[in-house]
């Protein structure tokens, strides 16, 4: 049997979150990702590294970019990828999460990539299966590959992570992207602040190592990176905000608010964007400053690196024993 998680650089069976990962482990994943960026820009993007391996993308929540990104990452490494989404799965027929996991596990996949609307569900599943698990987003908890692709984008543009000032703006309360980014950026030595109305900040967020602002002009002052979060329109029903226009007026990123950040500050957004809600088209489409499309490109490279790291970690140990 395969033993788990013995890759010297990344001694873990799963990638469930950024919390608790060491700076060296994160750097390893970023360095490896970097090597795939060029490959993905070639005409022939395919390499036989994971030939014969099986990856199941199990999505309990709708997703376009993350699922596509993982699927492409598998194909470019020659792994066999199967996509399962909630609409086609047995979950619809009443099967529990763990039964679904055990059923899929019996088919001997190498990696399960799982997205679930409930925080902690991916960890629960990972405890049950023998293969590796990558968390592709669980509730409001973590989205580690998003944080890695954001970090890779920043590192390529700014040549470093350490010492940078990063503002994460918007619906931090419901955001797994924000939590994963806060953990990663703090571990890598960046300084992080969050900017949002009080209703969209979770209690105790400052204990995660961030500075809190309720005003964009103040929060963006001196920032190298402005990271906008998506505002889900249903948030208005819970009295988190009164209206989209008020939200945009005070917290939407436009040229005027952006002027408070450093002149070369980078604009990022995990997508999909709500133009005119959290971001103005003028800044979202600013080629010089917006890294939004680059983030998507880095996503594929990062996911290739994660798949390779987890599979090779398990495989190497298996061969050695």
């Amino acid at each position: 049997m395969n033993k788990i998680g013995s890759n010297t650089f990344f001694p873990h069976k799963n990638l469930l979150g950024m919390e608790g990962l060491l700076a060296d482990e994160i750097s390893h994943l970023l360095d490896l990702s970097e090597s795939y960026v060029e490959q993905n820009r070639q005409a022939n993007k395919k390499r036989p590294l994971l030939q014969g391996r099986t990856v199941i993308n199990l999505f309990f929540e709708s997703s376009t970019r993350t699922r596509t990104s993982f699927e492409l990452a598998c194909k470019r490494l020659s792994a066999d990828a199967i996509n399962m989404s909630v609409s086609t799965s047995a979950i619809k027929k009443g099967e529990t999460l763990l039964d679904t996991a055990m059923t899929l596990n019996a088919m001997h996949p190498d990696v399960l990539v799982v997205r679930h609307p409930h925080s902690g569900a991916v960890k629960l599943l990972a405890e049950k299966v023998t293969c590796s698990v990558i968390n592709a987003g669980d509730g409001s908890h973590e989205h580690p590959t998003q944080a890695l692709l954001d970090a890779l984008t920043i590192r390529r543009r700014k040549k470093r992570l350490e010492g940078l000032r990063v503002a994460i703006c918007g619906d931090v309360l419901h955001s797994r992207v924000a939590r994963s980014n806060i953990h990663l950026l703090n571990t890598m030595g960046a300084s992080v602040c969050v900017v949002a109305p009080v209703t969209l900040l979770p209690i105790g967020i400052e204990r995660l190592g961030v500075e809190i602002f309720h005003n964009m002009a103040e929060g963006l002052k001196g920032c190298d990176i402005v990271m906008m979060l998506r505002l889900q329109r249903e948030r208005m029903n819970g009295n988190f905000i009164p209206s989209l226009r008020e939200y945009f007026h005070f917290f939407g990123l436009d040229a005027e608010k952006l002027a408070n950040a450093k002149p070369d500050a980078l604009i990022m957004h995990p997508g999909p964007m709500n133009r005119g809600v959290e971001i103005d088209s003028e800044v979202a489409d600013d080629i010089a400053r917006s890294a939004i499309h680059e983030q998507v490109e880095m996503g594929v490279a990062v996911r290739m690196a994660c798949l390779e790291t987890l599979i090779s970690s398990v495989a190497n140990e298996g061969e050695a024993s």
């Binding site: 109305p197 819970g238 009295n239 905000i241 009164p242 226009r245």
Partner: protein, 434 residues
């Protein structure tokens, strides 16, 4: 009348300023809208030519009153009151700034409506008017309003007027959201379920009259709930018209704990008790209702030790058709703009409060809490002034009130202290005829 650059000297005045503790004979000079100078020695050698001179004959010159809670009925109920008639009543009462509730028709829950009230207030050319906006859309207690934009348009604070936001989660979100912009929420502290169907204070009086009572717990429970919610937020919170011993004690303890809370009461709650509604006097029907004598005494205690920060008139004009009804059907509320000063001075004349503390409750305290300019006599500050005869005895005569509605329970009450002149932004907007 003074022009923009015109100077006016108020001489032989007893200058009273609660902020600085000033209580001295002296003079005050205004230029245009501002106070240019004041002091004991000013114009000791007479007033130079070119300056209009007003002899105060030793009477009290104090900051114009700031009334933190009024209903002006415009737009929508102009048969009861208008911004203009309320402005005239305010001027006659020494009030130079009014904060008005959003329970008009339409309800003030949109930016354009805040702008409408401000424009009409400006056009009336009388006193300062700062509109409150609603906490929830349509005062329905469900969906928070665009507080940030409303505040930018000029909403001074937020309140659902005569109703509490009863859903604790919605009120917590409202507090949190308001704290984003450092805005003030004002609560009518009354549990709507406990108060439902009640028309007066619960107790022996209500039992004798055969009316449904509202328990004092309706006020205490909602207030104490809000205090718990305040523990976990930095929001600014103000409790309107407190009327009960227990609620006042709860605020006293909360302030001692360092909570960010202020509160007010209104003259009926220290000048009357529940016996005023005997004989089914609808003019004494209020929300919250007039309480028992021990509660009345607790209100005065609260004012004495500063637990209650300020006194607002709670001006609530109603026409005869809304009040001349069976008690249960009559509207709640009394007018108060023209009785705010004499009833507040009653607390001085009967020895309950020092004069400057009584004035503080209607001038500098509301200015501080609602972050308004005015409410003080200071160089460079707005020339909003009231000149009054502190000791003059008179009988309240509702028939002479400027207010369009006459629903006051204080008609024919003997009081001491009368407004002689009211100055708004340097301009005399009321002068009592001799």
């Amino acid at each position: 009348m003074t022009g923009m650059k015109g100077r006016t000297a108020y001489i032989n005045a007893r200058l009273l300023d609660p902020t600085s503790g000033l209580d001295k004979k002296g003079a005050l000079l205004t230029e245009g809208e501002k106070i240019l100078d004041l002091g004991a020695k000013l114009f000791a050698d007479g007033v130079p030519d070119g300056i209009e001179s007003i002899d105060c004959s030793g009477h009290c010159l104090a900051p114009g009153l700031i009334d933190a809670r009024t209903q002006l009925r415009e737009p929508g109920d102009e048969h009861k009151e208008t911004i203009r008639t309320a402005g005239l009543a305010a001027a006659a009462g020494g009030v130079t700034t009014m904060l008005c509730l959003p329970n008009t028709h339409p309800i003030i829950d949109e930016v354009a409506l805040v702008e409408l009230v401000k424009r009409r207030a400006h056009d009336a050319e009388l006193v300062n008017i700062h509109p409150y906006a609603a906490i929830t859309k349509g005062l329905a207690g469900e969906q928070i309003t665009e507080m940030g934009l409303l505040a930018e348009a000029g909403a001074v604070a937020f309140t659902d007027s005569l109703a509490a936001v009863s859903n604790a989660m919605i009120f917590k979100r409202a507090l949190d959201y308001a704290s984003t912009f450092n805005l003030m929420l004002v609560q009518h502290p009354e549990d709507p379920d406990l108060a439902n169907g009640g028309v007066m204070n619960e107790g022996e009086m209500a039992t004798r009259l055969g009316l449904t009572g509202i328990p004092t717990a309706a006020e205490t429970i909602l207030l104490e709930r809000d205090l718990r919610l305040l523990e976990s937020t930095n929001a600014r919170y103000h409790a309107a018209h407190l009327s009960t011993t227990d609620a006042i004690e709860a605020v006293r303890k909360a302030k001692a704990r360092g909570l960010n809370i202020t509160c007010e009461t209104a003259p009926p709650y220290f000048a009357l008790n529940e016996t005023a509604v005997g004989d089914y006097r609808t003019f004494a029907k209020l929300s919250p209702p007039l309480r028992g004598e021990t509660d009345r005494e607790a209100v005065i205690e609260g004012l004495k030790d500063g637990t209650i920060d300020l006194i607002a008139s709670d001006h609530a004009p109603h026409d005869q058709d809304s009040k001349r009804l069976p008690f249960i059907q009559a509207e709640s509320g009394v007018i108060g703009l023209e009785t705010l000063l004499p009833l507040t001075l009653e607390l001085y004349h009967n020895g309950s409060l020092p004069l400057l503390r009584a004035l503080e409750a209607v001038t500098s305290a509301p200015a501080r809490i609602f972050r308004l300019s005015g409410g003080t006599l200071s160089k460079g500050g707005r020339a909003d002034l009231v000149l009054f005869d502190l000791d003059k005895p008179w009988k309240i005569d509702v028939g002479r009130f400027r207010s369009k509605s006459k629903n006051s329970p204080f008609d024919e009450r003997p009081v001491q202290g009368i407004v002689l002149r009211t100055v708004s932004a340097g301009r005399s907007i009321f002068v009592r005829g001799t």
